[in-house]
Amino acid sequence: MNYTYVLLIPLIPLAVFLLLGLFNQKIKPALSGLIGVLGLTLSTLFSFYTAFQYFFVIGKVNGAFPSLGQKTVWMNFTDTLRIDMGILLDPISVMMLIVVSTISLMVHIYSRGYMKGDEGYTKFFAFLSLFTFSMYGLVLATNLFQIYIFWELVGVSSYLLIGYYYTKDTAVAAAKKAFIVTRFADLGFLIGILIIGYYTGTYDFETLNNPEGSAILNWASTSFMGLSVLTWALILVFIGGAGKSAMFPLHIWLPDAMEGPTPVSALIHAATMVVAGVFLVARLFPMYYFVEEGFALQIVAFVGAFSSLFAAVIAITQTDIKRVLAFSTMSQLGYMMLALGVSGYEGHEGLGYMSSMFHLFTHAMFKALLFLCAGSVIHAVHSNFLKDMGGLRKYMPITNITFLIAALAIAGIPPFAGFWSKDEILVAVYEHNKLLYAVGIIVAGLTAVYIFRIYFGIFWGKDRVYDHAPKESPFSMTFPLIVLAILSATVGFIPFSEFISPDRIGFEGHINIPLALVAVLVGIIGISIAWVFYKKENDLASKAADRFGIFYTWVYDKFYFDELYLYITKNILFKGIAASAAWFDRNIVDGTMNAIGNSTVGVSKKIKGMQSGRVQDYALAFVTGAVLLAIVFIYLWTI
């Protein structure tokens, strides 16, 4: 089996990035957009071909999906510990290839319309390609270190694209915030990697994840503060994942990241990069599950559940539609984490794992669609805020319909994609923990409320008069909307459990009718609430807001987490630690160096008068010295 064509999947976007990046000024915008789209089309075709080969041609070997791919040694640390570079094909990486390539292609096509006339058009496509390359590298990574390298690369591309409108102060601040917060989380990831490397002697996923391997069997051999060191390492790795996936309390960067262009939000901050954290936990799932009887996995579950509730509550109050979607993303990511956290390993036990990946897949489709629709709306009315919208269904029929499909999908209404994956998650959680199930159900209801709140707010609500009548977006923008809408409506019917499960054997999936009914009912209730409040212009919403009073303000300001972090960094880190470190640096470190330099200068000033400038004086000194040395060596130092 030859995997060279798999290698092309990440390399084509890299080549496009280099081409567009190096000849940024030379390439005409129309051409650069075309190059970007064509490159991505090629790698999308390769991705689909790979998936087809993997799932249907090669299929199961000995009843389970195999791990394929190849790798070369990149760096040797010790005899056993080394870093490889290569590609790894297993069910989740192949699935991620599909997600990344599909969404990225759609976003590329969309961007040709959305970014039209922008000054940095070519640069934008170059960055998009860089991101796509990094994301492919991340999902195909064979070991922890390789995933870390690409992990940082997606962070950089995210930084570049959030700060794309670099003349706007808020965009620059948001880019810095995203980079610093995720970087801070990645410190945990790095320490976790180093611990794993030190105690297990390998970075390779295959070796680490083998349930009969030494890494998993010997987890109890070393402990630290009452827990296995590997548990600590996995918690640290999860901190890295939580940073990327905007889990509480490292979520603060995601809403601000919406300063970037909307296609970027769709690609990076909804569908692909932010799920990297979920993917990371899934990638190391056997370790999470077996080490310390899944202690670290419990933490994943609770953090995920809390984040999803927390974000859903905030999403209801936000007025910027992109921010609503950002909190919605955070909430859905929490769902995925929760599902992973409650998953078992063998057979049907692996429902949580499978549903998490399923939800990742469907969520990527409908959330990218939601963002692209929001972008289409923003393109038409030139504002992010709900107050500037309303009654748009007459002006933008395609955006209206596609947004509605995506909204139904995320609210979990059958037969749209979100229903199937969300139902599986709720079943998995129900079987594991009733409290978390309650959280999940509440979040499902809240999701329906906030998504239909903005749906009605944008497309229905008050019939307002626009200064410039908004019109439907060009075909390059509506085409991706239509494609993604079709996908959002249909991907739910993929029998995911056949393909993806922790033990890779697969199991028979089925719908749990009572739980599904409950979930759908909650979704419908949520939609009805939104209907009553926002379908027609009325003051029910503001009345409700007044009723909640201070609690509403509290939620509206995102529980003041930004302010809390600012307080901690400004007053404790900057004033306390950084200021004293700066004082030490300026006075002690620099002072020592300056003192050495100054004393040398002072001494040389004092003794420079000894130089007369007359060559004969020097000659005399030299001869005298030579004679003296001769006397010493010949007569005195004879012994």
Partner: protein, 105 residues
């Protein structure tokens, strides 16, 4: 090898020549005289080369050949030094050692 003259006597002569050169180098006021003193030092060492070659290793010729090299180098060096001195004279109208001390520090 010269009959009746020992190597010690020849060393004495070259040593006297050498130290005359050193003395002259240190005390002369005129740059040309300083240059002549340097030539004396060089000549003393050239004679030493020849003497040691002839008295101690009569079978080989390295020392003699080396002395020829030194003479050639000394000639070149003298030409260079004289040209420097002439240029110096054009600049400051003097070839006195005491006048050339502006480049100290």
């Amino acid at each position: 090898m010269i009959a009746g003259i020992t190597i010690y006597e020849l060393f004495t002569v070259t040593s006297i020549l050498f130290f005359i050169g050193v003395y002259g180098f240190i005390t002369r006021k005129n740059l040309i005289s300083v240059l002549i003193s340097v030539e004396l030092i060089l000549n003393a060492s050239v004679i030493n080369f020849v003497v040691i070659n002839k008295y101690l290793y009569p079978d080989i010729l390295q020392g003699v050949l080396f002395s020829i090299f030194i003479i050639a180098v000394a000639a070149a060096e003298t030409a260079l030094a004289v040209s420097i001195i002439i240029n110096l004279y054009r600049q400051i109208n003097s070839v006195e050692v005491k006048d050339i001390e502006t480049m100290k520090y």
